[in-house]
Amino acid sequence: MYYGCSCSTNQIILYKYVLFGAIFGLGLSGCIGDDIIFDEVDPEIRIMNPVDSIALGSSYQFFNVYFNNVGQPQTVPVAWSSSDPDVISINDDGLAAALQNGSAIISVTYSGGSVPVQASVEVGVGENTVIIPTFRYGTVISTSSYLLEGDFELEDIGGGAIELRLASNYKASTSLPGLYIYLSNNPSTSVGALEIGAVTVFSGAHSYTLDGVGINDYAYVLYYCKPFNVKVGDGEIIN
């Protein structure tokens, strides 16, 4: 049995125009949509310059930063408090005074969110003001199918700079185009993160010196394929 079409010439011409139009229409139809990323993190308040002790009779200015539910710094009203104001007093601006020997827990609290967030540090009163050792560390792990692993250290090297050191056990895939490294407060996105630069070392120990960055400014080391917005891995920075 023959099922072939028996179209007229006019029908064929019409079909051609319709098909031409449909093909061109398809070519223009690739519309930009939205990709939703789940970027919520727990809000956090952080004491940026904690100390072990404050010299008796002196004062010390604490600073804090509040990071909202997407890890971005946000100015919010906070309350400073001391567990023992007779030892260390602190005013609303975070200026502490060491009044007598002993120790106290200094806290800063933001109560304006759905859940109050607080950061605390135990501070003694001694002969000298002693800064908490400015050293942090962590382990980078892959969150993708691409190879990424290794330990790292973060150290305040003075002069307003820090050094990020990747250990000798570091390995990263060379297959990705545009692999970048960041410091971030949100492990889900590179938006708002500090872009350190393109990764050029894919195995072994190496380091990055970062000027104008504080040791407590960020919570994660983040690896991202920048051109295609593909997260490769991360490592939480531990105190």
Binding site: D35, S173, S175
Partner: protein, 298 residues
């Protein structure tokens, strides 16, 4: 008939190669066009994907990306056994979606699109034996001309081409045969080597294709399997110190199904879809192709 069928299936890039779409395979079989005869097609190829095969072969998510290529494909017999071929994606669109915060609803990274000319293939095929041979064979040489945009958009991450010059030499062998009393069929094997420039890895390409013509040979159903293996002899991210979006060492195995129907005379329509079931650094999503063709052999 079989020759026409083979020709009309030739132009499909069976798979989107990571952000390089529209690359066609001139793997349409060993049949060349008779002198003065030809086959021409206007088609639309597209793929939209939100995941890709990584270098470990496992699919990982990525920003939703789309490629739409509108192009013309043509074959023409300049003399018997010599056929010139061209695949010209004259309108190529590549876009990436907006990245939107699920927490705040804010657009974190605006999506972008580019619309340009695409990478173009031109080639020539030579029939190694006379037309009508029992086991026709052909050699072809194809040049991939980098007319597309290799680094568009504000992040240089949109591409309608790879920015490199391909030289593909391929061998084809095939056979046509009867299927039942009224239908025809064919099967072909193709093997090729793609020499790539600009530090891209060379490739070995293998293809198998079989088709059957039904309804007085007006309807053709085709199954195609392609395998591209990277020799991994080019550069990787470790060798590239710029902010280039250099993606290399792509490979995959894909399956494509196609239907082509002659509406009247040599005029017809076709539709195809395919995708990789294995790959590295390649999109993990089906691609589609629809088109209208005109076959001077009918």
């Amino acid at each position: 008939m079989v020759k026409s069928l083979i020709n009309q299936t030739a132009q499909y890039g069976v798979l989107f190669v990571f952000l390089l779409a529209g690359t066609s395979l001139f793997a349409g079989g060993p049949w060349t066009q008779p002198k003065g005869k030809g086959y021409f097609k206007l088609s639309e190829y597209w793929i939209v994907f939100d995941q890709h095969y990584t270098d470990t072969g496992i699919p990982d998510p990525n920003t939703t990306t789309g490629i739409f290529n509108t192009g013309i494909y043509g074959e023409y017999g300049i003399v018997d056994r010599w056929t010139v071929m061209a695949n010209i994606p004259f309108f190529s669109r590549n876009y990436m979606n907006n990245i939107v915060s699920g927490t705040t609803g804010e657009t974190l990274i605006p999506g972008e699109a580019i619309n340009t000319f695409g990478d173009t293939d031109i080639g020539i095929k030579y029939g190694l034996n006379k037309p009508g041979s029992k086991w026709p064979m052909a050699l072809s040489l194809t040049f991939g001309i980098p007319l597309g945009e290799p680094a568009g958009g504000t992040q240089d991450n949109l591409q309608t081409g790879d920015g490199e010059f391909n030289q593909i030499i391929a061998y084809d062998i095939g056979k046509s045969y009867k299927v039942g009393k009224k239908s025809s069929g064919y099967s072909t094997f193709n093997a090729g080597f793609n020499n790539r420039t600009n530090k891209f890895s060379d490739e070995i390409r293998i293809g198998l294709e079989t088709g059957v013509g039904l309804i007085e040979q007006d309807l053709w159903l085709i199954l195609r399997v392609a395998d591209w293996q990277s020799l991994k002899n080019g550069s990787t991210g470790a060798d590239i110190t710029s902010t280039s979006i250099f993606a290399n060492n792509t490979e995959f195995t894909s399956v494509t199904l196609e239907a082509a129907y002659y509406i009247k005379g040599g005029f017809g329509v076709s539709a195809a879809f395919g995708g990789a079931f294995r790959g590295e650094i390649v999109a993990a999503a089906p691609s589609y192709n629809v088109g209208i063709f005109y076959d001077l052999n009918r």
